[in-house]
């Protein structure tokens, strides 16, 4: 029910039923508590001289600004992304960017399936980047060294593979990032011996970025 500002009345004016409906009934209905429908409703502006009720959220949610910056909203406190990839072949002594094909959650537009090797920090702040990369078992009897890095420069994991055994590297990396930083994930293997079989690579990788706040 829209709000209508009252005109000024003077003695002798006729105040009609329609006036009462428009200026009293509808205006009370357009304000608080008129817009409230259930316990927990909050009253906020939808524009000049107009308001609406925000329904109470779920337990544990916090009041936040929506992504358009136009209204409050209840949501979870976590802003982040969780993505994973499946089998990827590697080239010896070269970093290869992990292409993610599964998105577990994305509450901040970090990831797009149309640009699936990029994971972009959406705004400036402090973020925690974590994950696990599982490497295939080597098949040529030697032990490769394994590396994981983020954004092309930040080394976050290094380990050794063992002949015939699967290896995993876990990482947990916290840093302050600028907006639009491409926190893509890269993996590599190397060795000083002969080349590995052509199917050597990672069996899977999972990668999470969680916003912690600002400083």
């Amino acid at each position: 029910m829209a709000y209508t500002a009252l005109p000024t009345f003077i003695t002798g004016d006729l105040f009609t039923a329609a006036n009462a409906n428009s200026y009293w009934r509808d205006n009370f209905a357009a304000g608080a508590p008129g817009v409230f429908a259930a316990a927990g409703d909050l009253h906020y502006a939808t524009g000049a001289n107009a308001g609406a009720a925000l329904t109470i959220g779920d337990a544990g949610q916090v009041l936040s600004v929506n992504s358009g910056g136009t209204a409050p909203e209840w949501d979870g406190s976590l802003i982040g992304v969780g993505v994973s990839s499946t089998d990827t072949n590697l080239v010896k002594n070269e970093y290869k960017t992990v292409v993610f094909d599964t998105e577990a959650f994305d509450t901040g537009s970090f990831y797009s399936s149309t640009n699936s090797d990029a994971v972009t920090i959406p705004f400036a702040g402090v973020f925690q980047l974590s994950g696990t990369v599982t490497f295939d078992a080597s098949t040529d009897g030697t032990a490769p060294f394994l590396s994981v890095r983020i954004g092309g420069t930040n080394m976050v994991g290094f380990g050794w593979g063992y002949p015939g055994e699967v290896s995993a590297i876990s990482f947990c990396y916290t840093n302050k990032f600028a907006a639009n930083y491409n926190a893509y994930l890269e993996v590599s293997y190397g060795c000083t011996g002969t080349a590995y079989s052509t199917d050597y690579g990672i069996d899977c990788a999972d990668y999470q970025i969680v916003w912690l706040g600002t400083t």
Binding site: A5, L6, A45, G51, F123, V156
Partner: protein, 218 residues
């Protein structure tokens, strides 16, 4: 236009045009939704009775919190309650087969007065009792003949967080850790690495130590 309390009327009273203007028109103009000027505004009380203020919408991803004076709500971007220290360089621990404290050279951020400048090594002092997450990594290089086991541990209780038994000569292992523990106020958090063997060449190349407050627990 200030809100005016509407008087009680009884049968036989006249409701004049002036009263209508004062108690109906002006009171509507003194309250919502007439006072809304922009989308996203919210209302809160500024005194205990019949006075309120408009809270302008913040910017994404602001959260609503209580202001410093505990007198009004405000939209803010949450501050990280924690600290991040980094080390980058080449340091050769002078003593073999012993623990070596990392002296961090760079403070990336300190949200909560964690940094303790009074010590070269114990550079993080827990500001209040609570549950904290401590994470980071050490990046070392082993000497050509070094077959030992580099390790890392976290103070104040020398909690072992990484070891790389069987590291190969000349390798560059990275040890990543992430632990959650309860700390008391003024606990000193430090990071130490273990220089594993007597052969020369073991060096610390990078290190990172982050402490973040998670909350309290009864």
């Amino acid at each position: 236009m200030a809100y005016k309390v509407v008087p009680t009327v009884v049968t036989g009273d006249y409701w004049t045009a002036g009263q209508n203007n004062t108690y109906i028109r002006d009171n509507f103009k003194a309250t919502l939704p007439d006072l809304w000027t922009a989308a996203g505004q919210m209302v809160y009380a500024t005194t205990s009775t019949e006075s309120f203020g408009l809270l302008t919408i913040g910017t994404y991803p602001n959260r609503l919190t209580v202001n410093a004076g505990a007198t009004a709500p405000e939209w803010v971007t949450p501050q990280v309650n924690g600290i991040l220290l980094t080390y980058s360089g080449v340091t050769n621990p002078s003593v073999d087969d012993d623990w070596f404290p990392v002296s961090f050279g760079t403070k990336v951020y300190d949200g909560g007065s964690y940094y303790d400048s009074t010590s070269t090594y114990n550079q993080i002092k827990i500001p209040a009792d609570g549950i904290y997450q401590t994470s980071g990594y050490v990046y070392v290089s082993l000497g050509t003949y070094n077959q030992g086991t580099p390790k890392a541990r976290i103070g104040p209780d020398d909690h072992l967080v990484w070891s790389a038994k069987g590291s190969i000569n000349g390798g560059y292992p990275i040890g990543t850790f992430c632990i959650v523990r309860r700390y008391a106020a003024n606990d000193l958090i430090y990071l130490e690495i273990y220089n594993p063997y007597e052969k020369a060449g073991f060096t610390l190349r990078e290190a990172r130590l982050s402490v973040r407050y998670l909350g309290v627990s009864t």
